[in-house]
């Protein structure tokens, strides 16, 4: 089952990478008030239901994929399509 995990720097946390991206966009003439850079992790997991896949991904986020002090995460379960 395909699962996508989105990890983002929490609001209020300084994001130097995002600032650099915003600066680069600004240099190109794009007006952007803020840019924040996170991370996408695409997973393929064996699970019998979307609920099971989501629960597994939750556990992965809590134990490794995100650091709760500075990052938030979102989980999208896509089912078995798109393989």
């Amino acid at each position: 089952m395909r699962v996508t995990v989105l990890v983002r720097p929490k609001a209020g946390i300084l994001d130097p990478q995002g600032d650099a991206v915003r600066g680069g966009l600004d240099h190109l003439g794009f007006r952007v008030n803020e840019a924040r850079v996170g991370r996408v992790i695409d997973l393929d997991v064996d699970a019998s239901s979307t609920g099971e896949a989501r629960a597994a991904a939750e556990e992965m986020c809590r134990s490794l994929l995100a650091n709760p002090l500075i990052e938030s995460y979102e989980i999208e379960v896509h089912g078995n399509g798109g393989r």
Partner: protein
């Protein structure tokens, strides 16, 4: 030799690169350094443990995030729980934070650049096992070299750390190389036997290197390790 050399383990992860320097520096200040591979399940008989700098597991995902699942880290956690002194330097500091053995987290430098230079830090806490050879308020010059050394802890946690005196080293305000909160360069855990710092004391143990202030930190660790060895006899 008049005094026995305490045995201090230096962990070696794939991607560690200061393990050799840490071992040499520890030997120079009176320890017997023992390299310990990351896949070991048990520690040999040791009186202290050092997690050296480098880029363990390529620093993928987040610095230290993968290393904390190595089997040797479980053994180090048990060693720390028994009161054994554990010192994490740079990447070692990042690993200890990810492992939950130290509070907070190290983030990319505020200025985005990799910083490699001598910095001045103040000793905020002069106590065993890491700073017994220092004076409170003493100024130490020790090099840093890192891209992700910006210490961060949420406001509530920071207040707890300050209240309990867990901030051991602080960058001189004008020298903060990475945007660390409250100029924090090194912290200990609540019990005081686990420490992490971003500066590299192992690169400052010989006048040829420009400073010997790092020997005060590593020497304090050797003293504590020797005391622990004697107490175990």
């Amino acid at each position: 030799m008049t005094e026995a050399r305490p045995r201090i383990g230096v962990l070696v992860f794939p991607g560690s690169n200061d393990d050799g320097d840490a071992a040499l520096a520890l030997e120079a200040v009176g320890a017997e350094a023992v390299l310990v591979w990351h896949a070991e399940r048990e520690l040999p008989r040791l009186d202290a443990v050092v997690l050296p700098g480098g880029f363990s597991y390529g620093d993928y995902l987040r610095c230290g995030a993968i290393a904390r699942f190595s089997t040797v880290l479980r053994a180090v956690s048990a060693f720390a729980a028994e009161g054994g002194p554990v010192l994490g330097i740079c990447n070692g500091f990042q690993i200890l934070c990810e492992a939950g053995l130290l509070p907070g987290v190290l983030r990319p430098n505020a200025g985005l650049g990799f910083v490699c230079r001598d910095v001045a830090v103040r000793v905020e806490r002069a106590a065993p096992p890491f700073t017994s050879r220092c004076e409170t308020g003493q100024r130490l010059v020790i090099p840093v070299k890192h891209g992700e050394g910006c210490y961060y802890a949420p406001a509530g946690l920071l207040a707890e750390l300050e209240g309990r005196g867990q901030v051991v080293l602080r960058y001189e305000a004008e020298e903060n190389p990475n945007g660390s909160l409250a100029n924090i360069a090194g912290v200990v855990d609540a019990r005081g036997n686990v420490m992490g710092l971003m500066p590299h004391p192992e690169h400052a143990v010989d006048p040829l290197l420009g400073s010997t202030d790092g020997a005060l930190v590593l020497g304090s660790l050797v003293d504590a390790a020797r005391d622990r060895a004697l107490a175990a006899v």
